[in-house]
Amino acid sequence: MLDQQGEWPHGVHPIGTERKTEIVTSLTVMGIETSCDETAVAIVRQIDGAGPELLANEVLSQIEDHAPYGGVVPEIAARSHLVHLDGLVKRALKSADLTFNDLDGVAATAGPGLIGGVIVGLMTAKAIALVHRLPFIGVNHLEGHALTTRLTNETPFPYLLLLVSGGHCQLLHVKDLGDYVRLGSTIDDAVGEAYDKTAKMMGLPYPGGPALEMIARDGDPTRFDLPRPLLNRKDCDFSFSGLKTAVRKHVLALAERDELGDQDRADIAASFQAAVADVLDNRVSRAMAKTKDQLGEKPRLVVAGGVAANQALRARLTETCETNGFTLEVPPVSLCTDNGAMIAWAGLEHLAAGHTSPMDLEPRARWPLDKSTTR
């Protein structure tokens, strides 16, 4: 499906009329994602016997709107989703060269996320479904991340999933559609959050994660001895709050002596990143040991969420996989961060399985993936 750079090759998947006459069924689903600071609409299609196709993938990032505040401001995000979403819906249809009549379903993130934004996407999807008498599917945002690899890499069930983003950090055994067992999760901060807070302490610009990764490249990862929380625990939980506290002590000590220079920042960033990598490696290895015999002959680790874009962590997880006999599968970076394609795809998978949502579905700020999926 993907070329070696991990990008969607342009024009590789034309929707040929020839093929269309042969096929038995095809499903085309629109997906809407508005749970954080990206307004996104995508359309995916799956034709029986062929791989899934991404027909449109429109993303409008609000990062610049939030940068002056040092983080996403929920009210600003919700207002922006409201004024931009309908235009983006039209744009997605246009770029896929489709009309509403070509759709078989409309999916939207129903949670978890910033509630104001979730409401905007969910209500827009319900309205479109109502007018065109289409099935409506409320998708768990985390499930969208969890299933993206099946859109891009056609990964078969089951697999081990490491979901790492600004708001989430968990290890899941993805057994089947809607059947997810949580092996572990962060007991305090998410990885992305730890990156952002650490970056903030050192005065790096927002968003802090990428900025920290950048300066870490020139740093000495062994200079500061930072803790690796929970390494000895038998479960697969994570903890990053103590790491943040430890970084703060070093920053404070240097700042007090007025000695916090660029090289110190780089060394702190590199030391921090090395600690995070050690924690991820340790926790993932433990999850691998627990699940390996349930994952078939070719066990896979799938990494999803925005943190999957971090090259250093990705390199480390590649090693983790080699050591444990796993294959690493990571969707392209553009589909690791929040996007509409993952929601459209999760909606399509549920629709194909006969699942739809009622029109009174509630938007949810918190919605653990392992408790319930689409009702």
């Binding site: 002056p68 600003i76 979403l85 700042a255």
Partner: protein
């Protein structure tokens, strides 16, 4: 306009009305402080089942744009804009203050003015003034209760809305009579439909929200950087 579907979720109620040939053909209203996101679409389905219409046969949609609760406005506007885009029909925006002022015309003397107002908490009120004909005299605004007197015309007043009593009590030096309207204090899609039916429609631009309050974060006065440099 022959037929239109109107919705309101701007305040502590959820309502839907279908307007056809000069009258309300079907209508639902439920008071609710929250839960609009769950209730609204099934309510539209009920109205549709009762009035029996197809979306493609409607001339337009109408919605209250505010002022109101931010969550309520988002539910109503996202749904209405979604309906309009999906059906390819125009959307007409009506303010919640217009919607509560409109029914008061019947009980207003010709030389009096209608003061439509919602309690905005924190010693503030959303407020807009209308002539007895229903035409607006002032723009909708968020005003401090201490300055209410400067926002109303110098004539007999009839106040309506959840802020009616609050506003009246602050107008102690007003020389003309001030009455409280007997009309409902909350907007109703039935009224929204009636107002929108006489409005011209602009097909291109969809109406946006009227928040009247800035978002809940302002730019930091200085960059939010490290606290380590601060004394602890």
């Amino acid at each position: 306009m022959t037929s239109l579907l109107a919705i309101d979720t701007g305040q502590a109620a959820c309502s839907v009305a279908l307007w056809r040939d000069g009258a309300v053909a079907a209508h639902r209203l439920s008071p609710m402080p929250k839960g609009h996101a769950e209730a609204l679409v099934p309510m539209i389905e009920e109205v549709q089942a009762e009035a029996g219409f197809a979306f493609e046969d409607l001339d337009a949609f109408a919605v209250t744009v505010g002022p109101g609760t931010f969550t309520g406005l988002r539910v109503g506007l996202a749904t209405a804009r979604g309906l309009a885009v999906a059906a390819g029909k125009p959307l007409i925006g009506v303010t919640t203050l217009e919607a509560i002022a409109w029914p008061v015309r019947r009980e207003t003397k010709e030389d009096a003015a209608i003061v439509a107002t919602f309690d905005a908490r924190r010693n503030e009120a959303y407020l807009q003034c209308f002539a007895a004909s229903g035409a607006s005299i002032t723009e909708a605004a968020l005003v401090s209760l201490d300055e209410v007197a400067t926002h109303v015309p110098d004539r007999a007043l009839i106040c309506v809305g959840t802020g009616a009593a609050l506003v009246r009590d602050r107008l102690t030096s007003h020389v003309h009579t001030i009455a409280l309207a007997s009309a409902a204090a909350l907007p109703d899609a039935r009224v929204v439909a009636e107002i929108a039916a006489d409005r011209p429609t602009e097909t291109e631009e969809l109406p946006g929200p009227l928040y009247l309050r800035a978002p809940d974060a302002k730019l930091p006065k200085k960059p939010l950087t490290a606290s380590p440099s601060e004394p602890s």
